[in-house]
């Protein structure tokens, strides 16, 4: 009788442990949001004078072509992937002069601030589900433009 009970008790403990592990794993997954951000230079020149620049990936190129933008070439200047815990924020430097601050708001929205010379110059709060992209952009010298893309990858 004692064996029967201990066997059942063991089974119960294993089941509980498995349940806990699943739950913890799920919580861990949902407690962190993963993003990718790119700094892109837009120009009508066919090539960038900077050899470190590379053409943006076809997927992002396709997206940019769908927008009402006039440039012929887009070069990836910098790319960063980062994670944010739920309710937390992350500062991401995209270049010496600029970066973005990304903060999770309630797990459903993100607050994105554009940082220039160490100061927030613009902020937006919006939902950013997985797969969607937020693109900040503006003029750069010689009729070119800068773009910062932010995409949630997990």
């Amino acid at each position: 009788m004692k064996d029967k009970f201990s066997g059942a008790f063991l089974l119960w403990r294993v089941a509980l442990l498995l349940l806990f592990a699943t739950f913890a794993g799920r919580c861990a997954q949902t407690n962190e949001l993963k993003f990718e951000s790119q700094l892109i230079w837009a120009t009508n020149d066919k090539q960038s004078p900077n050899p470190k620049h590379k053409d943006v990936e076809p997927e992002i190129r396709k997206k940019l072509d769908e927008l009402p933008l006039k440039w012929k070439s887009y070069f990836e200047v910098n790319r960063k992937q980062f994670s944010i815990a739920k309710g937390a924020a992350s500062k991401v430097a995209m270049s010496e002069k600029c970066g973005i601050d990304v903060k999770d708001v309630d797990g459903k929205k993100v607050e994105v601030a554009l940082i220039s010379k160490g100061e927030a110059v613009w902020t937006r709060t919006q939902p950013l589900p997985k797969g969607e992209i937020l693109i900040l952009s503006g003029n750069a010298p010689d009729k070119t433009a800068w773009l910062i893309t932010l995409k949630r990858i997990e």
């Binding site: 009402p68 933008l69 006039k70 003029n139």
Partner: protein, 197 residues
């Protein structure tokens, strides 16, 4: 008592009566201010029919919001602000329908106005009032909506840069650039004068 004080006092009485539901009093207010409200809509929209529709819509809105008017400004100013906002909404709808590209907007604020030579002729000295008004009318129609709006809000509505920026939802720098471009373009268009016979 000066006339404007009389009409101002009368406006207040009419507004008070209209706020209590007196439609006759409201109709009198409409009669007094209809030209001004229409003129503001026409300056912005450059289309008679649209200006009439928007000015009427402004009056209907004014009736609905009359109880909110506390006399913080004159009734006329309060009314012009209503019609300006309606015109801006309509211009935004125009913009969405035309699907203006960012490129077009970029060119709009380009540097061409810096290169126009300074106009030395004073149009008010060279033209009769009627002809001057016709010239201005034509010149206003040749400005883009954004440039014209900035000009109308500053020159006719008397708004400061900051207020124009808030109304047009753009930066003060953009307001200044648009205003400058509009004025320079107006000067060039008005300077294309025939010498008086």
């Amino acid at each position: 008592m000066p006339d404007n004080n009389n009409s101002s006092t009368d406006d207040k009485s009419l507004v008070r009566a209209a706020q209590k539901g007196d439609m006759v009093a409201f109709e009198e207010l409409v009669a007094r201010h209809r030209d001004k409200i229409y003129a503001r809509a026409y300056s912005m929209m450059r289309n008679e029919e649209e200006a009439i529709d928007l000015s009427q819509e402004a009056w209907v809105k004014a009736w609905q919001r009359l109880k909110q008017f506390q006399g913080e400004s004159s009734f006329g100013t309060w009314m012009t602000r209503i019609v300006i906002n309606l015109c801006l909404d309509q211009l935004r709808r125009h913009k969405r329908q035309r699907a203006e590209s960012i490129e077009a907007m970029d060119e709009e604020s380009g540097g061409v106005e810096r290169q126009m030579p300074v106009v030395t002729v004073n149009p008010t000295e060279r033209l009769e009032r009627v002809e001057l008004r016709q010239r201005i009318d034509q010149a206003l129609s040749q400005l883009s909506e954004a440039h014209r709006t900035a000009l109308v809000l500053h020159e006719f509505e008397g708004m400061e840069y900051k207020e124009i920026a808030r109304t047009m939802e753009c930066s003060i720098g953009t307001v200044m650039s648009r205003l400058f471009y509009a004025r320079r373009k107006m000067a060039v268009l008005l300077s294309d004068l025939k010498k008086p016979q």
